[in-house]
Symmetry: none
Subunit: 120 residues, 2 copies
DNA sequence: CCCGTCGTTCACACCCCTTTCACAGCGACT
DNA sequence: AGTCGCTGTGAAAGGGGTGTGAACGACGGG
């Protein structure tokens, strides 16, 4: 568990450094430009780093309301976030998909169990 | 981080040298003519170099009062400052926009990456 | 006075962000 | 094979945040 307390100013996940006050993400010290949604999504995942966060919880944390059926916003923004992270740190899988359960942020590759983890 | 202590006499950001007491800016040794607002804005950004400064904070630091909704002064002066910096050091992006968050003065501008982000 | 600089505000253009949709891929089950 | 459920992914549309030129008045120097 690398993530710090919830009210901390800084969150560190592997090579990622999240500055909560500023809304700034650093990857190996290099600044990464994220939109508000992307940043909030990353923060929500980072605060629960290592554990699976369901889409409902994720949506409530980031969007502030309840996820309606058929809303794909979570998936779309996970995709966008993955793209930006992969652009800065290629080959490092941060966000892992757990089909039927949700997403999990982890700098380590995957769990030794069911490797239903999305490669890619 | 290249920026020095807050009460320092001198601020160095890349090829920029800010002489606080004189209100003078040097780019690669060449003096740059700035208005008072422009200079104060640059100083405010330089003191937080590498970090994102929100418009609210920027306005409070430079103008000394609270930013009212609809006030575009920050944006206008960022534009003026960018223009003057680009006139002296073309192609070097100093001030980066983080949509929804604020502006960031980067002491080590362009990365060899194809970072389609911060540049504008 | 005349003129240039500066600060502010406005108007418009532009581009990014967000949302939504539509389709493709993939595994599970019959 | 075929269907179903779930997720990946590209694209379009709309709105909002930001870039940018210009007008206006205030101020100070020549």
């Amino acid at each position: 568990m690398e993530a710090q307390a919830t009210n901390a100013e800084l969150l560190s996940i592997g090579a990622l450094e999240i500055r909560l006050r500023e809304g700034l993400l650093l990857a190996e010290g290099r600044p990464v430009t994220l939109s508000v949604r992307e940043f909030d999504l990353l923060v929500a995942l980072a605060r629960n780093a290592g554990s699976i966060v369901s889409r409902q919880d994720l949506y409530r944390l980031v969007w502030g309301r309840t996820l309606r059926g058929g809303d794909r916003s979570c998936d779309v923004y996970v995709h966008k976030l993955r793209a930006k992270l992969d652009e800065v740190l290629p080959g490092v899988a941060f966000i892992h998909t757990h089909v039927g359960f949700g997403y999990r942020l982890d700098p380590a590759p995957s769990h030794p169990f069911h490797n239903a983890d999305t490669a890619r």
